[in-house]
């Protein structure tokens, strides 16, 4: 009996790893396709056409599916993770850009770039069930772990909107630096980090007071302030390290979260935006929008290992290795 329990527990642990396909999906905004790579060999396996202007990507709750926002076709396409097969579409979502999945896996909050709203999509029902007014050009969307709050950045209004998911209302508008793009929450969720693309910094917001309590300025050697345009950022699972893609400065910054100090700048391709970490966080994948390639960074040595050509203007990356 004990043996059986152990076996069952072992299976529970092992199964997800076995289920992982080891595939990496990259959305290419301008060629309207997805490049599929091998997460271990970094080889391009194939690519396939998608709806037009695919940008934001996100796994479903159990990672068996993934969602792709297609701005020029006003829809989110749903693919099977193991095969990359198209299995559904959610239509009539105005110009979706990025989005986040509610922690229960049921809803997507999608920024509609053209509409100055965030749409709430019921995934199972495959339709929009509500929306929230934001500033012009909403961009980054992020849920807190308890699912009670969603943060939305409004690029054109220089604001972060705090949405209460229960009442579906904006409870605070936080004025931040110029052109806010993406978010990361610290492990304890006391700090919300938001990249301000045109200001070239990351603002740090205290989530209790919704006030800016600090910022991080980036300046890789040989670049000027105006060339530093941070977009995507990630914080590792243990909450210690942040990676920030610096856009036109062609580097990824590595930041020690606790001290807010920059540890390293890593040279990648042209205009890096999208970032993704593999399951054990040993590899950081970077989408370089203007050199049409992906750079893979070894997070141990903080060195770029390889750059791999993908489609035109790569945007988002999903790694299915867990």
């Amino acid at each position: 009996m004990k043996g059986l329990v152990t076996w069952v527990l072992l299976m529970l642990v092992i199964t997800p790893a076995e289920a992982a396909s080891g595939l990496v999906y990259v959305t290419n905004e301008k060629s309207s396709d997805i490049t599929v790579l091998d997460s271990k060999t970094f080889e391009v396996l194939r690519s396939f056409d998608t709806c037009r202007r695919p940008r934001g990507v996100h796994f479903s709750h159990d990672r068996s599916e993934f969602y792709v926002g297609c701005a020029d076709d006003d829809q989110i396409a749903i693919y099977e993770t193991a095969t990359g097969a198209l299995i559904g579409r959610i239509l009539n979502i105005e110009e979706p850009e990025t989005f986040d999945l509610s922690p229960d896996g049921k809803l997507l909050y999608v920024s509609n770039e053209e509409d100055a709203t965030v749409s709430i999509v019921d995934i199972e029902a495959r339709r929009v069930i509500g929306d929230v007014e934001t500033g012009e050009e909403p961009e980054g969307v992020l849920f807190t772990a308890d699912g009670k709050t969603v943060y939305v950045a409004s690029e054109a209004a220089n604001m972060v909107h705090v949405i209460d998911t229960e009442t579906v209302e904006v409870v605070a508008d936080i004025l931040v630096d110029t052109r806010p793009r993406r978010f990361a929450l610290t492990l304890d969720e006391t700090e919300l980090w938001v990249s301000a693309e045109l200001a070239g910094i990351v603002d740090i917001i205290d989530t209790a007071s919704n006030k800016i309590i600090g910022d991080i300025t980036f300046l890789p050697t040989g670049f000027r302030k105006e060339q530093v345009t941070p977009v995507d950022l990630l914080i590792t699972k243990d909450g210690t390290t942040a990676y920030v893609a610096l856009g036109r400065a062609n580097h990824v910054a590595v930041v020690d979260v606790a001290s807010r100090k920059i540890v390293e700048y890593i040279l990648v391709g042209k205009r890096p935006w999208g970032l993704a970490l593999n399951a054990d966080e040993t590899m950081l994948w970077v989408a370089n929008g203007l050199s049409d390639d992906i750079t893979i960074i070894d997070t141990e040595s903080l060195k770029a290992i390889i750059s791999v050509p993908v489609g035109k203007v790569p945007y988002g990356i999903l790694i299915d290795d867990q």
């Binding site: 007014e133 934001t134 012009e136 050009e137 054109a156 209004a157 508008d173 004025l175 052109r179 200001a199």
Partner: protein, 393 residues
């Protein structure tokens, strides 16, 4: 005065965040234009063929006001535009005073030519007023005829010419034939380009006048093939402010050479085909609302309102001097959807900005081009830089 005090007080109350239910305070921006402005008059076109669009740029300002709604929500303000017109600059001056007295307006967007701008800036000199030029490229307004209370959102001719010169240098098209029309604006364009050519080491192989017509006695001035013959060059720069002749120059030059300047490849503040830095979103918003494509002056009007809203958002907007100082100052970051943090040059109030070098349907380059260096700010390679400044406020 009482009116203005009230506004200040309620703005403070709203900013203090008393409650979400606080009534929003209006923040009115003036928009001034000249009735029958000749720059928007119907063209002298043969057979009704209209070669240059002449849309009033107020649409750009209106779009920007729309975009300010959510910022207003957070600030407890409602931004709006008060559009007034008069047939003379004096008439507009009176409107400015009226708007300030009655509605507390301090910021004015002016769609006017040089003389109008100069006159209004004079009038506003001893008042708490700040003016924004959105349509006049005249270089004199950024040098000898500059004014401390006149901000220039539209690029100057010198900036546009420098952008084109950079492109020509980068393309190694160094020998340029300049063709010039008969109007003062054509002369100004040609002069600006010659100054840029000197600055960037291009050689103007010849400068020739053209006239629109078919007078056989002026055959060499109105026949493009003759006008472009007898000398070698890498490109033709055409200074044709009305656009009546320039359109016949490409494909009719004596030598097979590209045409730039007013026709062919053009430097501008904005273009509907610009596809980077969020520009498609702005262009689509504009087209959807206004039913036409966004042009340079529309963009400038849009950016002027955005600059005011940004300064108000950062300072609270209740104190004119503070807001104006922020707007003119080094901390100002204006996002003009051209991928650079724009701000106003302290020496001549010109908005430093990237420029787009485009054909009729594609943006070919963004200036400053890579490789054109500057000791502090690459964008200051375009137009009058501090060392050559002749503006004295």
């Amino acid at each position: 005065m009482i009116n203005r005090l009230l506004i200040v007080l309620t703005a403070v109350a709203a900013l203090a965040g008393t409650a979400a239910a606080v009534e929003k305070t209006p923040f009115v921006i003036g928009y001034l234009e000249i009735e029958g402005d000749p720059r928007y008059a119907p063209p002298r076109a043969y057979a009704g063929i209209d070669v240059r669009p002449r849309h009033r740029p107020v649409d750009g300002a209106a779009l920007s006001i729309r975009e300010s709604k959510i910022i207003g929500r957070a600030l407890g303000l409602t931004f709006s535009l008060d559009r007034v017109s008069a047939d003379t600059a004096d008439g507009l001056s009176r409107e400015m005073d009226r708007l300030q007295d009655q509605r507390g307006v301090d910021f004015f967007i002016v769609d006017g030519a040089s003389d109008v701008l100069t006159s209004l800036a004079d009038h506003a000199a001893d008042r708490d007023m700040l003016l924004f030029n959105i349509s006049e490229p005249d270089d004199r307004l950024r040098s000898d005829a500059c004014a401390a209370n006149l901000m220039h959102v539209i690029p100057s001719r010198a900036m546009l010419a420098d952008a084109m010169a950079q492109f020509l240098v980068a393309s190694r098209w160094k020998n340029i034939l300049v063709l010039k029309g008969e109007f003062p604006a054509d002369t100004a364009l040609a002069q600006a380009f010659q100054a840029s050519a000197k600055k960037y080491g291009l050689k103007v192989v010849d400068k020739r006048d053209f006239v629109l017509g078919n007078d056989p006695r002026e055959r060499e001035k109105n026949n493009i093939a003759l006008l472009t013959a007898g000398v070698d060059y890498d490109a033709v720069f055409i200074a044709d402010s009305l656009g009546q002749v320039g359109r016949y120059v490409p494909y009719q030059t004596a030598l097979p050479r590209p045409v730039v300047g007013s026709e062919g490849l053009v430097a501008g503040a904005w273009n509907w085909a610009w596809e980077r830095h969020g520009a498609p979103q702005l262009n689509q918003r504009f087209e959807r609302r206004m039913g036409r494509r966004m042009e340079d002056r529309d963009w400038a009007a849009w950016a002027a309102v955005k600059a005011i809203v940004e300064a108000v958002a950062r300072t609270g907007g209740s104190d004119f001097s503070q807001t104006a100082a922020y707007l003119k100052g080094p901390d100002m970051i204006l996002d003009g959807y051209k991928g650079a943090a724009m701000s106003f040059r302290s020496w001549d109030n010109q908005l430093r900005q990237p420029l787009l070098i485009h054909t009729s349907n594609a943006v070919i380059e963004r200036a400053p081009l890579e490789g054109f260096l500057h000791s502090t700010q690459y964008m200051d390679t375009l137009g009058y830089d501090a060392p050559e400044n002749r503006c004295r406020f």
